[in-house]
Point group: C2
Chain length 247, copies 2
DNA sequence: CGGTCCCTTGATAAACATCAAATGCAGTGG
DNA sequence: CCACTGCATTTGATGTTTATCAAGGGACCG
């Protein structure tokens, strides 16, 4: 698969030559659930581009608890935050949560490509800026939204971003993984689901069913500070608009 | 003040010419508490570099609540996440919390400088990557640490990063602002302070007094997943080591 | 002296985590 | 096909943490 298909934003405006060259330097890895792409503390020798599947970034406390940081989805990079640091150790562990395929770029190659092609650096910078914004939203939602609202918001975004039919679409990973990504325990997740049933959200296995988008929009988006700036909400209100969803 | 003094990481390795040129394009703004650098939704015409003071990024929900996103400290940029987006509206409001001075760069100038000087782009990328890492830590701490632990961790970092004497150093802003930065209500902050007294932390007005760093290290860092990767903790254990503190 | 602002303290309630146990479901091997 | 095992999910009971509401104290400033 060509790089431009996997992560269009990252490789946008990059010359075909450069793409081929970068692609040639990458190894493809196939991974199954439970595998690790890398572990916290290892020397960060590679940057990974997730092609399919799902990866969880996490760390462990001295007391032995695991703290989930982030769920990485296809098209996103892993190890990119370590790309430019001098002390090059991964700052988190990356565990496969769904059977995955990932491209593995040697760090040095990626850095060279960045120097040689400023466009690549520019794209990286933009992706990074978006990630910062998304994490701000995330942090804010953790503090202001209830579990059920966070879940509802996530499902709405998932549906809109992938252009799924609200009546029926699949979760990209298990409920437990989703719960950890949303910063809650599986039990809380399960109970949050119950509350969403009132708003016409049903989740059987991995199949999502959202019948009443309006109910969701009023009962969730009202509490979210993105409000009018939320691309998904704009989409709901005016589905015709050409959509360029950021987050 | 030269740019290199204000934000050494951002302008590192930038040619003196370029610095002067960038500096010349900037206006200096003096602001007092309650002023706004910009408001959510306005056209993002500028990038700001905070020279002194403190700024709070926040948004408002349709229901009228304010949601704090981040406290910006001197040396950091504001509006940088909007720098590369096509739809150029600020995604948050920036309110002055401490009398501040800020440099105001026209967005276009900053972008041109980036194109002309790849080093600047590289520095931006590194800063952005660090910010992502810091926000991951932040999110994790919100989910795993109690209020008093978050506060203790913050004070430790503040003390170590600025090379203050633990026996007595000042807070950079008021307790309320700090509370909002740590994602808690002022009441919770106040009670958290009470719990930290057991660990030898006293806070009178804006003066901090930390007598027993070891107690803090055992009772807080033990619960934090950064553990050995935390620069501050390394510093506490081996103060002689040359310190290059990231966050 | 009265005001405001900031912080503290107390009482109460909401949200969530935690613990424990039951249920369901898929794959395995008989 | 059926029991069996392991894992994910649900449900219930309970405890902890924090937000919220309400009121009081203290400093600063006119």
């Amino acid at each position: 698969m060509p790089l431009a298909k996997i992560a269009p934003d990252l490789f946008a405006d990059l010359s075909p030559d450069a793409r081929v060259q970068l692609g040639a330097s990458a190894q493809t890895r196939h991974l199954t659930k439970g595998d690790h792409l890398f572990r916290c503390g290892q020397v960060a020798g590679h940057v990974f581009l997730l092609v399919s599947g799902a990866v969880r970034l996490y760390r462990e406390t001295p007391e032995g608890k695991v703290a989930g940081l982030h769920i990485v989805m296809p098209g996103q990079l892993l190890g990119e935050t370590e790309l430019l640091e001098d002390s090059c150790h991964y700052s988190a562990s990356a565990e496969i949560m769904e059977p995955a395929r990932a491209l593995m770029f040697p760090r040095a190659v990626f850095r060279l490509a960045m120097s040689a092609h400023p466009v690549l650096m520019l794209n990286l910078l933009q992706l990074s800026a978006r990630q910062v914004q998304q994490m701000r939203r995330d942090r804010e939602q953790l503090l202001t939204l209830k579990a059920s609202q966070r879940l509802g918001c996530f499902l709405m975004h998932l549906c809109a971003e992938r252009d799924y039919a609200p009546e029926r679409f699949p979760l990209p990973y298990t409920k437990s993984v989703l719960a950890s990504g949303l910063g809650m325990e599986p039990e809380t997740f399960s109970r949050a689901l119950g509350q969403l049933k009132d708003m016409g959200v049903h989740l059987k296995g991995r199949e999502v069913e959202m019948s009443d988008m309006e109910a969701i929009e009023t009962r969730i988006c009202q509490a979210c500070s993105l409000s009018d700036n939320c691309a998904v909400r704009q989409y709901l209100q005016e589905p015709d608009t050409a959509m360029r969803l950021v987050s």
